[in-house]
């Protein structure tokens, strides 16, 4: 399930974006095909809301079009798009006051059934719900660093640049976030069991 962001296909992300900047707007379609899933995953894990996440992905691509002239020649596209995505997410959280809503059962229902088998799904569905709930309860900065490093497979070096901090600081934050997530996970399981 890991989505590699570093894949270099025929035309690099950077070359595509330079073309878009030069006015070949249609080339953005190729970048959309490469990035909309990881972006959607980023927003879903951050907000825990599927339809909201679709809107946020759309906003990111809208901003790419709108600010395409600000894309720099020496830029790295994946860094730029996550930079925009973080801002879009921050705007969303500011608008919708503080913490993200807890998992909406209807939303969970909307999650495509990607489990291996019906039998296994029954056993793990609760587990995944639990994990999502725990993730949603993490402070935003911890949740974000976990989503980026564990779910988006963004390199620590790149996360450090994105968050404007050192690689060491990112690793420390990832470690703390994992420990916190685990603690939350077991806490919620105990609460559910009780």
């Amino acid at each position: 399930m890991a989505v590699s962001l570093a894949v270099e296909v025929e035309t690099s992300d950077h070359e595509l974006m330079i073309a878009v900047r030069a006015g070949e707007i249609a080339r953005l379609g190729e970048l959309f095909e490469r990035y909309h899933r990881p972006l959607y995953g980023f927003f879903v894990h951050l907000t825990n809301q599927t339809s909201v996440s679709e809107d946020l992905v759309q906003i990111v691509f809208y901003r790419i079009l709108k600010y395409r002239h600000t894309y720099r020649d020496e830029g790295k596209f994946s860094a730029w798009i996550y930079h925009l995505a973080r801002k879009v997410a921050a705007d969303h959280f500011r608008k919708h006051a503080a913490a993200p809503a807890a998992t909406d059962p209807l939303d969970l229902h909307n999650h495509p059934d990607s489990g291996p088998s019906p039998a296994a799904t029954a056993a793990t569905a609760d587990d995944l719900t639990l994990l999502r709930t725990a993730l949603a309860r993490l402070p935003l900065d911890h949740r974000e660093v976990l989503v980026l490093s564990r779910l988006q497979n963004v390199e620590h070096k790149e996360i450090a640049r994105l968050l404007d901090t050192s690689v060491g600081a990112v690793k420390v934050r990832v470690h703390r976030a994992l420990k916190e997530l685990r603690a939350l996970y077991f806490k919620i399981r105990r609460e559910d069991a009780a």
């Binding site: 707007i25 959309f32 959607y40 995953g41 079009l65 976990l146 420990k179």
Partner: protein, 298 residues
């Protein structure tokens, strides 16, 4: 390696990015430390759970919306009408021209307002209200009347001034290169009515350069008929003769026959009369009047 140091390395150990010797150190420590073992197992477990989170798959709506937006942008970019293009250019021009900072914008607006007020006060005359207009008309009429009066007064003053003062006035008029009609009229008036021979003589002198003027000639002719002083009579006859004033012929005739008149005056009148009827081209003065009687004296 102590426990803290080992646990700090867990993330890199997990990633496989730890240096080989440090990696070996972590491994040997883990083999002998139950607490670090528990910690490591817990980290692995939660990481595995996270990795099991299915990749979220967006619905078809996302792609549809994106391509709809792309098409809209493409169309807008393709069909930028000349109008929107010009509008964009215009906006860009003003954006470049005008300050972007609100404080500067405010200062600019204030400056414009002050400039407008100043310009208005400086260049726009206050709109005259009807009352003021009628008052101004009245003032103009009054002033005209006063001007007339002052003229009258100046005339009467001229009459009452001493001889030397009147003489001075005439001499001053003589100085003028191109005296206007009013000055000439005054001089003619002086010539006709001034009681002083000297003043009248000066007036003739002052009028002599303007003898071509019809008004002056008419004035001279009428003044000559009533003139009593031979000196002035002589001067006037000379001036009128020099411009071949035919209208003066009867007066000349009268003087030339008048036995009571001064002998010199009679002589001068006779000469002038002869010159009138028999102009002498050698004198360099062509006959001013074309309608004079044909000089057929044999």
């Amino acid at each position: 390696m102590n426990c803290q140091r080992v646990q700090d390395c867990f993330i890199e150990y997990q990633d496989g990015t730890l240096a080989p010797d440090e990696s070996a150190g972590v491994r040997t420590h883990l083999a002998s430390c139950p607490s670090c073992q528990r910690e490591w197992a817990a980290l692995q477990e939660i990481t595995r759970k996270l990795d099991q989170l299915p990749a979220a798959e967006p619905g078809p709506r996302l792609r549809e919306n994106f391509y709809a937006m792309l098409e809209t942008h493409q169309r807008a970019a393709d069909s930028r009408s000349p109008f929107t293009f010009a509008k964009g250019r215009l906006e860009a021009f003003f954006a470049a021209l005008l300050p972007a900072r609100p404080s500067l914008q405010f200062a600019g607006a204030l400056a414009l307002l002050a400039g407008g007020l100043l310009a208005g006060a400086r260049f726009l005359p206050p709109r005259p209200d009807p009352a003021a207009t009628s008052a101004q008309a009245e003032i103009a009429a009054l002033r005209a009347r006063v001007d007339d009066m002052s003229q009258l007064v100046s005339y009467s003053l001229l009459q009452q001034k001493s001889t030397s003062e009147r003489l001075q006035t005439v001499l001053a008029a003589m100085e003028l290169k191109s005296p206007d009609r009013q000055v000439l009229t005054e001089l003619v008036g002086t010539l006709a009515f001034d009681p002083s021979v000297n003043v009248r003589l000066s007036a003739v002198e002052a009028l002599a350069p303007h003898a071509q003027d019809r008004l002056v000639r008419a004035g001279l002719v009428s003044a000559l008929s009533r003139e009593s002083a031979p000196l002035v009579q002589l001067a006037m006859i000379e001036v009128l003769g020099s411009v071949h004033e035919t209208a003066a012929a009867p007066v000349f005739e009268h003087f030339s026959r008048d036995e009571t008149a001064d002998k010199n005056v009679r002589e001068a009148a006779r000469r002038a009369l002869a010159a009138l009827y028999n102009p002498n081209p050698a004198s360099g003065q062509p006959p001013a009047q074309a309608n004079q009687p044909t000089p057929v004296l044999s």
